[in-house]
């Protein structure tokens, strides 16, 4: 939903290891208690306040209301023990907070006061309403818990699949596709559909929960990457030479020749942009709603095979062989930020949902966690084998692939990790990793096909039905598509700080004009240079042309002079008038003054 994030992810990791599994009832009870306590405290406070106010003889709104509450009676004669609307927990209100309030300026224009108070009221109402109608299943995510002296990472997938219910158990499966591997993987935004791209040309779409094959084709070319577009109806395939777009039936819709040698792709769902990184060092943006290339940026950093997006602000992160990670937006031809992360080349980059943490792995076999709001390193880990692929889940679990082993880590940024949360060996080298949205499932593409493994606590249990509904029908999808297109965000608005749009532009006029000139390619305020017409019959002789030019120049000059003279005259006149007035006022001549000698 419109949650300004953070809170959810943080909540899930507050608990340490020895936390009882979360259930409805104890949680609710506790909350209820809390509420009661809070209520009582507040009531006490209110009473105290009332007493104080009575002492000071002040009549405030609060007191009045308190009095009314006391006076409120029901027919049955019983008082309502919980008067007023139900309280909203403060943390939930804080979750929907947008910036701080401003103080109402004193002694300012009443319109300003009204406007500010009105907007404050509106935003407060919005905040409260959002908090009130927040997620209805706020229970904590459950994690895998081992017995004493048992590492959770030693528990095998089979055991988990046996332990959980049948539906969840069926989510652990292997697809043995040894012929065209290794495979790249991508889940659609709702998490229902899966696209597999085998290196040797095999592309398949699967409704993975029902195991229904939507389409299966062989493009007869090497496939570098596959990516779903905004819905499960279309997906892009980066093939050997060009970028192709297929529909869910496997029909080729487009072959985009502007995008060549694409190695990696990212889709920005709210901007309808497909960002591609090519072997030639180009970062290109394709607007899939109109089918136009937005920008093509030459990064000048060589082959780009490491790429990810920041879901918070739609910035693209690229990893380079010289150990740097660069951040890109389609509006700037140079990197917004360039970070030196590894001593060797960067092998993989990923950013968490809230746009706070970036995890990188490099050739130096290190795994690093950065806070990308401040660009400071938080944690650094050494993985003996080095991680080739990284992926972060919605709840903040990190999966890293080292060779043929997939490891999953918890809390990589908050507490130092020594052991993985889970580990699983797949038949051959891992090529693609992707957590399934809204499911506790990690999809692993490897040399021998595809493995869907269970990772308890990975997915977000609460989905926004209007944004990404895993259970939506075709009709709902169509509706959503229309709305999403209407609410499409323009690529110009991509910047490091997504709230920049809400700020007032404080640049000077000159600066703005310069920007405008740059954007338009010409100066709209500039005066056109006079070019004399070519005249026949010897009238366009060099002397004549020069004379004409001079004439025009003189005319211009005359205009200028006229203007200046006029302004001068005007000023003089005004000055004189002022003087006259001044003399009149100073002397105050009466009617009889004329008889004076």
């Amino acid at each position: 939903m419109a949650s300004p994030g953070e809170a959810t992810v943080k909540d899930s990791h507050v608990g340490k290891k020895k936390k009882p599994p979360a259930r409805y009832w104890p949680e609710q009870q506790k909350e209820g208690k809390d509420d009661n306590k809070v209520g009582k405290n507040e009531e006490h406070a209110e009473q105290a306040v009332e007493q104080e106010e009575q002492k000071t003889q002040k009549t405030t709104k609060r007191k009045q209301e308190g009095g009314e509450r006391d006076g409120k009676k029901f027919i049955s004669g019983k008082m309502d023990p919980f008067p007023g609307p139900a309280r909203i927990p403060e943390d939930r209100i804080n979750k929907f907070k947008r910036k701080d309030k401003t103080k109402k300026p004193r002694g300012s224009h009443y319109k300003l006061k009204d406007m500010i108070s009105r907007s404050e009221k509106a935003s407060e109402m919005a905040q409260k309403q959002a908090a009130r109608f927040d997620l209805l299943l706020p229970e904590d995510a459950g994690f895998l818990e081992g017995d004493e002296d048992e590492d959770t990472c030693t528990i095998s997938q089979e055991d988990i699949a046996d332990a959980v219910d049948i539906t969840a158990g069926s989510k652990y499966f292997n697809l043995k596709l040894s012929q065209f591997g290794p495979y790249r993987v991508d889940y659609s935004k709702t998490g229902r559909h899966l696209v597999l791209g085998g290196r040797r040309g095999h592309v398949a779409c699967i409704d993975w929960q029902s195991k229904q094959l939507m389409c299966e084709i062989n493009v007869m070319e090497s496939v570098n990457d596959v990516k779903w577009l905004h819905s499960e109806a279309m997906y892009a395939v980066a093939q050997k030479k060009w970028l192709y777009i297929y529909d869910s039936n496997g029909i080729e819709l487009h072959c985009i020749r502007k995008f060549n040698d694409v190695l990696r792709m990212q889709f920005l769902p709210y901007h309808f942009l497909l960002a591609t990184a090519s072997a030639t060092g180009f970062l290109q943006y394709l607007d899939v709603s109109v089918g136009k290339e937005v920008t093509a940026i030459c990064t000048k950093t060589g082959r780009l095979d490491v790429m990810c997006q920041n879901p918070h602000n739609a910035i693209i992160h690229l990893g380079h062989h010289n150990g740097t990670v660069t951040l890109w937006s389609p509006n700037q031809k140079e990197a917004l930020v360039k970070m030196l992360c590894h001593q060797g080349g960067v092998r993989s980059v990923t950013v968490d949902k809230t746009g706070t943490y970036m995890v990188t792995s490099g050739m130096d076999k290190k795994l690093k966690v950065y806070d990308i709001r401040t660009f400071k390193p938080l944690k650094s880990y050494f993985l003996p084998a080095g991680a080739s692929c990284l992926s972060l889940s919605q709840r903040g679990l990190l999966s890293a692939a080292t060779g043929d082993i997939v490891q999953v880590y918890r809390d990589v940024w908050s507490s130092p990790v020594t052991k993985p949360y889970m580990a699983h060996r797949v038949p051959r080298t891992v090529w693609g990793l992707h957590f399934c949205p809204f499911e506790d499932v990690l999809g692993v593409g490897h040399g021998d096909g595809f493995t869907s493994m269970l990772v308890p606590g990975a997915g977000e249990p609460n989905f926004d039905g209007l944004d990404a509904n895993p259970f939506r029908s075709a009709k709902q999808r169509q509706e959503w598509e229309v709305k999403a297109l209407l609410e499409k965000i323009q690529p110009e608005l991509i910047s490091l700080n997504p709230t920049e749009l809400g700020q007032v532009d404080r640049a000077s006029f000159a600066q703005r004009h310069q920007d405008r000139v740059q954007a338009l390619g010409f100066d709209p305020l500039a005066k056109e240079k006079f070019i004399p017409k070519y005249k026949t019959k010897g009238r366009s002789s060099a002397g004549g042309v020069e004379r004409r030019k001079k004439q025009v120049a003189y005319e211009d000059q005359r205009d200028v002079i006229k203007k200046t003279v006029e302004t001068k005259m005007k000023m003089e006149k005004e000055r004189k008038q002022k003087e006259q007035k001044a003399t009149v006022f100073s002397s105050q001549r009466s009617a009889l003054d004329r008889f004076k000698k």
């Binding site: 907007s119 709210y270 010289n322 938080l378 082993i405 920049e500």
Partner: protein
Amino acid sequence: MARATKKKASKKSDKKRSELTEEKVEEKVEVMYDDEDLNEDDENITSEEEEEEDERKHHKLLEAISSLGAKRKKTLGERSEAAVQMSEFTVTAEGERDRVDLSDLIGSMEKTPGVTSRTKKQLKNLQKDNKTIESPLSRQETDRIQRDVAFQKAATEVTKWKGVIKQNQRAEQLIFPLNREPSGPKPIERVVTSWKAHTPLEEEIFSLLHANKQPIHDPILTPAEEASMKAMSLEEAKIRRAELQKARALQSYYEAKARRARKIKSKAYHKVHNKAKRKEFLKQFDEMVKTDPAGALEELNKIEMARMQERMSLKHQNSGKWAKSKVIMGKYDLVARKAMQQQLEVNKDLTQKIVTSLNAEEEEEEEEGGDAEVLPDFVNDAEQAVDPSNPWMRGKLSEDPTEKDMIVDLTAEEAPRAAEEEEEEEEEVKEPEEEVLLREFDERRKQRQAQEAEAQITVEEEDDDEEEEEEDKAADEEEAELSAFTSLFREKAEAAADVTDTSAQLEEGLTRIRTLEDVELLSVPQEEAAADEAPLPPPPAENPPPEPQKREAAKPKKRKRAIELKEVLTKEPKVIQVPLAPTVEDAEDADEQLDQRGLIKEAFAGDDVVADFLKDKRKQEDAGKPKVVDLTLPGWGEWGGTGLKPSRSKRRRFRTKAVPPPPRKDQRLPSVIISENKNSAVRLHQVNSLPFPFQNHSQFESTIRSPLGRTWNTERTVKKNIKPKVVTQMGAIIEPMAREELLKDKRPAAGRGGRGGQGGRGGRGVDSQRRHIRDKRAEK
């Protein structure tokens, strides 16, 4: 005249008003007296002039007579004398000593004994005052003053609308037409209360109802009923109802009896009846003397008056036509003689002085001393009341009328003030009315309680006050009648009045009982409604903003960049143990060559990566720095030529140092290069100047901080956010505001929800901007 008005005033129920009118009357009278004085003065002056006038007239007459016979001559206009001093009244004031001075007049005043010292003083003051009255202002000036006053008046009239207009301007939403009734079914009470009389007939009826204190606006209870509601409980009400029922029954009996008696034509019966009544009255009067001396005195006065009239008139003195005829017949007719005698008896009866204890006392007192001081107070009062017309006797002369006279040209100002005063008076009057009512009921209750104690219920005694009122009303007619019968007649009249009165009371009682139950029933929903209307408890206080997440610093701050960078990169990482060792090498996946290169890079990684990065960063920093411009030219003021450099001082003079740029964002981050280029794409979509009422950026930014769209808000919030400023009803005529609006807005306007607001150009501009921006709001 004064008397008559005074009578009228006395009739009015509210004493205050009556007093006021009295005052007015007195003033008038005073004025009249003044006029008379003046006239007298004039007479004094003119007495000598009249003689001259007469002479002149005589002369004229002679001329006229003489001219009758002769030819008709052209008569010239009279131009008699050329005097230095011309009077306005075509009267010469030849001898100045003939003029009458004020002192001459006042001199005589001092000699007269009847004049009070006070008036003397005043006159003296008047004499001392030698001020001449200023000449009247010119027409232009008076006009200007009048215009000023008129303008002020108009301005005050217009400023009354200020509040309403401001409120409307500021209102968050205006729904036209303004005084629109909320749709949907309404509770019947509100419908009834909000109904207003429009036609003259209705208004007339309403005025009548209003005069009788009938409920108009609140259909449930009259003020009297409400007061009674306050005054008595249910049991008391029941008792009272029983009483009233009984009273009504008695009333009907009495009425029936009276009707029967009235129909009896027998003279003998009536004679006896009247005699009995008279006797009874006398008996009553005797009793009254003991119990209620004041009332008795009044009675006595009336009787006295009747006696006086009887003595004045020849009604029963056998002097009428009838009596004369009877005298002729009397010699032979016994009956006639008897009738005559009867008449004389009546006369005797009437003229006989009634000696009561009161009278006796008075007479005795008079006989004893005749001192005014010994007289009872009320006697004095009455005398004072009898002639208020004498201005000299009233001590109110000091109340100057000058004040009001002075304000001739300030009438405009005075008018509203007068209105205000009137309003105040009304308010003052209104409050006492209610109080009086309450008091009445209190008294009644007390009486009833007393009656309960005595266990005797009488109807007549119940409403003493009302009886008195009735008396006052009937007084005019009754004065003329004969004293003996007056009381009887009055009793009848009272009875009649009582009929109406008690019947009204009975009705009252009936309604009251109904309303007692009704009110009990009604009060509950009203309370509930009030409870519903009560505003919600205050929202929980705003939480303090959450503390920004603090990241534990991986390393302490250090100044030296290069070293730090290396430290960052070579920092001891945590080694993670993996239970499963990878069996497959990475080498398998990628092409051999690439991996080879990677391996080499890995092997020789370290210094050159860091060095490259630092070099890159330095380059960026240098590019960002502004360059020093050197404008030195060789030769000017110096020797120039090959191998000669311009001097240092000259170079310094022509070198312009640029201002150092603001610190880079990545100043403290050694391993990061942040581009200093501004994002100009967003700038095109940003608001580039602060909208009107805002004073700084933060204010404006805070007002647009929360999104408006459906995606980010609940439905209710969205509806509130996009509420239009003005709503007009389709097909409804939007009329200019009526005066009622002004009155209505004195109460807080709850219906329209005008909560102070925006309006005008700036506000709307911002709103449109917000809406414009809404679509473009960024992620999430």
